[in-house]
């Protein structure tokens, strides 16, 4: 009997009291937009395309972000300049489908696609949520400042000949018989 009263009555009363005491606790609500929230650099918000330290587009149109995307909201087409550099002819993200999962950023081998702390992306017209490369491309390196994919890759591009990438020997002279 006592146990029943303890379980049913006392416990309920204690619960009520404890909840009531929350009235005197500080509220957790942040009154956005009057108070701007503190965002962290690893927050997964608006997606951008960054540039390498030399100011060139980082994206090499490898399509890995597109294939990693679980909602298939990235579409792009590879193009190549006269000197062999790959870049996206178009790069489109349908933000009305994007779930900000960040898989694209993880998949990107060149640190081109990055998620930023900007989360204010609402639009009145859904069509405005389709962003093209011109909208996505920023004038900086984003979160990763020093990486330049083509300095590591073996492919020859304008301004970087064969053998000039990191850890590369000069091109082989096939006609030489020296060891």
């Amino acid at each position: 009997m006592i146990r029943l009263i303890k379980d049913t009555l006392i416990s309920q009363v204690v619960t009520l009291w404890r909840v009531f005491m929350h009235a005197f606790a500080k509220t957790d609500t942040v009154e956005y937009p009057d108070v701007q929230p503190q965002m962290f650099s690893r927050w997964r918000g608006r997606i951008i395309l960054s540039r390498d330290p030399d100011g060139e587009e980082r994206c090499v149109a490898c399509n890995l972000c597109a294939v990693a995307c679980p909602v298939d909201c990235i579409a792009l087409q590879k193009a190549e300049d006269d000197e062999g550099r790959w870049y996206p002819e178009f790069f489109r993200i349908n933000f009305s489908r994007c779930i900000m999962c960040g898989f694209c950023e993880e998949a990107c081998p060149t640190n081109a696609i990055q998620l930023t702390p900007d989360f204010e992306m609402a639009e009145y017209v859904r069509q405005d949520m389709v962003w093209e490369k011109e909208d996505l491309l920023i004038n900086g390196t984003g979160k990763y400042h020093d990486y330049n994919f083509y300095r590591v890759a073996g492919k020859k591009i304008g301004g970087k000949d064969k053998g000039e990438a990191r850890n590369e020997a000069p091109p082989v002279d096939v006609r030489s018989l020296l060891p």
Binding site: C73, Q127, G154, G163, N167, V172, V174
Partner: protein, 924 residues
């Protein structure tokens, strides 16, 4: 059958094979690089290491290369053994030492054998701190990209290009870790099968340049099983589409036909699909007085209405040998059998009919390409097979190696020991005889090439037949012929598996009969007591199909044009046919001048359809379903890869009248099914259609891979609300990722993929054994049955065809549609005249100079190519889409044109692109 034990499990194997091949046959994952199912083993890459034990008590074992070890009975091996695993991971690590950090910018990425094998072998991080070896690339022409840094030195490229395809201009250069695979100098790869390097190379050294221009990863391509339209061989292909344009064509394994390889025309000749010559909208020549002759575009509905109005009366329908059976059947149904005419030139139709009769004859056999490879003596008659039906030529290059196989078998060397077999055989080749008016690209492996005009060839064939069986042939007329005929005859008689290959490009019925007579004569000596192999290459993808259809009634092209010229028809419908390639300009002019309305349905703009009143755009092979019949009479389904622009419709859709009362929608399937029931020549063709019962009938197969990307973004720039995927009511495939997965069923296999096997090597997962047939694969339906009694051959007079003019074909440029592809255009040349040195002197012609040829009212000025190897007195003309063949078919007169240094330079440039074998004198 032998038994081997792999990791404790017993497998039944063929002891003739090596362990690697047998492991792969049984679906085990074992990494490899240098081994190729078609090229055997050389043991170069050391990647396929396994542990082999002497007996059940042996717990130590030794590491062996599975590709170099026979699958002998009782062998006990382990793939999972720690030492073997360690060895494989160390090997891949050393192979990867200089491999660049290129995958994101590499066209091979995502379908790369090296990626797959690296994953499989378990190599993750590079430990090697020293510098990577780098190489400079070469420009290898319009087809192939070269990125030598990516090479892992497996030697597959040179083994394929030099040893398998007979190329001369790709070699392993340099030494030790500086080894370089390329040409001696920068320049176009000359071999006609260079495109296969893309698929043979396990990494990204050789990639498809045309594909790179509009590159898409493999997983993003929408694909469907298709059939090549480049010639009549019927090779199976997989075209891939993305964003509404055709992106590339790769090989699709067919056990009997193309196997693992395609020719460059088939692989790179797809560009016309999105070329600016493509007809993109219906158009009508206005008849109003104020704007007479102006071509105005029409909507689809207007065009259909106009079409119905124009063809309401007495209509002549002209079919096409380069479009599907369904389109021809639809035309036939629309105009009626009496008004249906073949789209062949007259002599071509006679030739095809002769070939069909031979294909129906008992005692003869039409070999598929795989059977060609097994022939141990081949006679090629007149046809320049490398340029008309190129895949045959690659097969014949394998056929001449049967001598090596024979020697190896005698010496008890397994055939997969590639290097050993080649070492043993040295230059020993099976006999290959070529009769041709000019030197051919196969001369380097030919026992002898007899240069002669058609008449001389007929005489020689008659002599050969006479020697083999005097009741069939007639005696040779000259001593040279006598000697040659005896050599050919004795080689054919002694062969266990002789084969005769010809074609109809000469347009000479007499030559076909003479060729068949040799085969008929050979029956007497047939060692295998089987039928004698004789086949005739067909110039276009459905030449055979249309010819079969004409057996069910219908007239010739000449009948049609004469009827039109008499003004006996109100309208003419020309289906996908450029009539200027079929007959003389006079005949066309006469016909068109009396025809009130000409309607042309076609894919590309050309001179002929510019004269049509109503021009209707039709879909290409990749945009419609169709059935094509190859040179054997094998009907094969080519599936629609993607939905074309709404203005473009398949021929059968334009042609089938819209009947509002009809509840049954007319689809390619219903046309074929109905025709297979009603037309005896097509009986059995319904077996091409997918099953109508069971789970497969209910579930479609996806055209897109399970990793297809960008679905919600690719059209979002037009409208953010995604459209429903187009429904396919015509075939067993869907335009989406949904449906019955293809992973274990090859019946509708387009792009091979298996877990851990992203490259084209995944095909082994779909074969019942390596190099075997595809599981549940449809190999097509043979429409020709051997029903005719063995024929007693009529003697063919050598004077039956005494024309000295012959027409030259080129792999790049001779086929009408592929010639409009940019990559093919880059490799093709314009029209030219070809004569021998003696004739050139007599006529006063200069190498690369100009000559005027005239025949009747027709004249043309052509650059001159003086060849060493050409039949004396013969005159070769290459039309190159510039001049009308039929205008000059009946002999020409030639005169030199005054020199102009400008012209000389231009033609010299043009001829520098031309790949011919002129210095090869045969191997004698």
């Amino acid at each position: 059958m032998a038994k081997i034990t792999v990791d404790g499990i017993v497998y039944e194997v063929n002891p003739q094979n090596n362990l690697l091949q047998e492991c792969l046959s049984h679906g085990l994952d074992l990494p490899y690089f240098c081994w190729h199912p078609c090229m055997g083993s050389v043991g170069a890459c050391r990647q396929c290491a396994v542990k082999q034990y002497r007996n059940a008590d042996d717990k130590t074992g030794v590491v062996v290369m599975s590709c170099m070890t026979p699958a002998s009975d009782g062998a006990i091996i382990s793939i999972a053994d720690a030492q073997a695993v360690k060895m494989r991971s160390n090997v891949i690590e050393s192979l990867m030492i200089s491999h660049p950090h290129d995958c994101p910018v590499c066209e091979e990425g995502g379908e790369c054998h090296l990626q797959d094998m690296t994953q499989m072998s378990g190599h993750n991080y590079r430990r090697y701190d020293f510098k990577k070896v780098t190489h400079r690339n070469q420009n290898l022409g319009p087809f192939i990209n070269h990125e030598m840094n990516r090479c892992i030195a497996c030697y597959r490229c040179v083994r394929y290009y030099d040893d398998y395809a007979g190329g001369k201009d790709l070699a392993a250069l340099g030494s030790h870790h500086h080894v370089y695979f390329g040409r001696h100098e920068e320049g176009t790869l000359e071999n006609e099968f260079s495109g296969n390097l893309v698929e043979v190379c396990p990494t990204g050294v050789f990639t498809d340049k045309t594909f790179s221009e509009h590159y898409t990863r493999k997983w993003d391509l929408q694909t469907a099983p298709s059939v090549c339209t480049g010639c009549g061989a019927g090779c199976n292909t997989t075209p891939g589409e993305r964003y509404g344009t055709l992106r590339r064509i790769v090989n699709r394994y067919h056990h009997d036909l193309n196997g693992y390889f395609l020719c460059d025309r088939g692989r790179f000749g797809y560009g016309y699909n999105s070329s600016d010559r493509r007809i993109t909208e219906a158009s009508l020549v206005s008849t109003h007085d104020d704007e007479k002759g102006v071509r105005k575009s029409l909507t689809t509905q207007e065009a259909q209405r106009q079409f119905d109005a124009m063809t309401a009366g007495d209509v002549v329908g002209i079919g096409s040998p380069r479009t599907s059976l369904e389109n021809n059947l639809a035309l036939r149904a629309r105009v009626g059998v009496k008004n249906f005419y073949a789209g062949f030139s007259a002599e071509q139709q006679r030739c095809v009919q002769a070939v069909i009769a031979i294909n129906r004859e008992q005692g003869l056999h039409c070999p598929d390409i795989r059977t060609l490879e097994q022939a141990d003596c081949v006679l090629v008659v007149n046809e320049d097979i490398t340029n008309t039906s190129p895949r045959f030529a690659l097969a014949l290059r394998q056929a001449v190696r049967n001598r090596a196989s024979q020697l190896a078998t005698d010496a008890r060397i397994p055939l997969w020991q590639d290097a050993a077999v080649r070492e043993l055989a040295q230059n020993e080749l099976s006999p290959l005889f070529i009769l041709s008016p000019q030197g051919t690209r196969l001369d380097d492996v030919a026992t002898d090439t007899f240069l002669g005009t058609t008449a001389q060839q007929i005489a020689l064939l008659a002599a050969v037949a006479n020697i083999i069986d005097a009741s069939v042939g007639n005696a040779a007329t000259d001593t040279h012929g006598e000697e040659g005929a005896r050599r050919i005859a004795s080689a054919l008689i002694t062969a266990r598996h002789p084969c005769i290959v010809s074609g109809i490009s000469a347009g000479s019925e007499a030559l076909i009969h003479a060729t068949a007579n040799v085969a008929r004569a050979l029956r007497k000596y047939s060692v295998q007591s089987d039928a004698i192999d004789v086949c005739f290459a067909m110039p276009e993808s459905n030449t055979m199909g249309l010819a079969l259809l004409m057996e069910e009634g219908g007239g010739t092209l000449d009948d049609a044009l004469q009827r039109l010229a008499r003004g006996e028809a109100d309208a003419a419908i020309v289906l996908e046919n450029d009539l200027t390639l079929r007959t003389t300009p006079e005949a066309i002019d006469a016909a068109l001048s009396r025809t009130p309305a000409v309607v042309v349905i076609d894919q590309l703009h050309n001179e002929f359809n510019a004269r049509a009143q109503l021009l209707l755009p039709s879909t290409s092979f990749a945009e419609q379903n169709g059935t094509l019949v190859n040179y054997e009479g094998r009907a094969q389904s080519s599936h629609q890869v993607f939905q074309a622009d709404a203005a473009l419709r398949p021929g059968y859709e334009w042609l089938t009248p819209v009947d509002p009362l009809s509840l049954v929608l007319t689809t390619s399937e219903t046309i074929l099914y109905h025709s297979a029931q009603t037309l005896s020549v097509l009986s059995g063709a319904e077996k091409l259609l997918p099953p109508r019962t069971g789970i497969q009938a209910l579930m479609k197969s996806p055209r897109q891979s399970h990793r297809y990307s960008g679905r919600t973004a690719m059209n979002a720039n037009l409208n953010v609300h995604e459209k429903k995927q187009p429904a396919d009511r015509e075939s067993a495939m869907s335009f989406s990722m949904e449906g019955l997965p293809l992973q274990k069923d090859a019946s509708l296999l387009s792009a091979a993929w298996a877990p851990a096997w992203n490259s084209n090597q995944a095909i082994s997962k779909f074969q019942d054994e390596i190099n075997g047939e595809l599981k549940q694969g449809c190999k097509g339906v043979h429409l020709l049955q051997r029903t005719l009694e063995p024929h007693v051959a009529a003697r063919v007079s050598s004077s039956a065809d005494n024309s000295v003019v012959y027409f030259i074909d080129h792999i790049f440029g001779s086929e009408e549609l592929s010639a409009a592809s940019p990559a093919i255009t880059a490799r093709s040349v314009g029209a030219y005249l070809c004569v021998g040195e003696a004739d050139a002197q007599r006529l006063g012609l200069q190498q690369h100079g100009r000559a005027e040829i005239s025949s009747g009212a027709h004249t043309a000025q052509l650059p001159v190519l003086i060849r060493q190897r050409i039949a004396p007195g013969a005159i070769g003309i290459y039309c190159g889409g510039e001049i009308n063949r039929h205008a000059f078919a009946n002999g020409v007169s030639i005169s030199a044109v005054a020199e102009d240094s400008n012209v000389l330079v231009r033609s010299r440039q043009m001829f520098s692109e031309l790949v011919i074998s002129d210095s090869q004198q045969g191997r004698g």
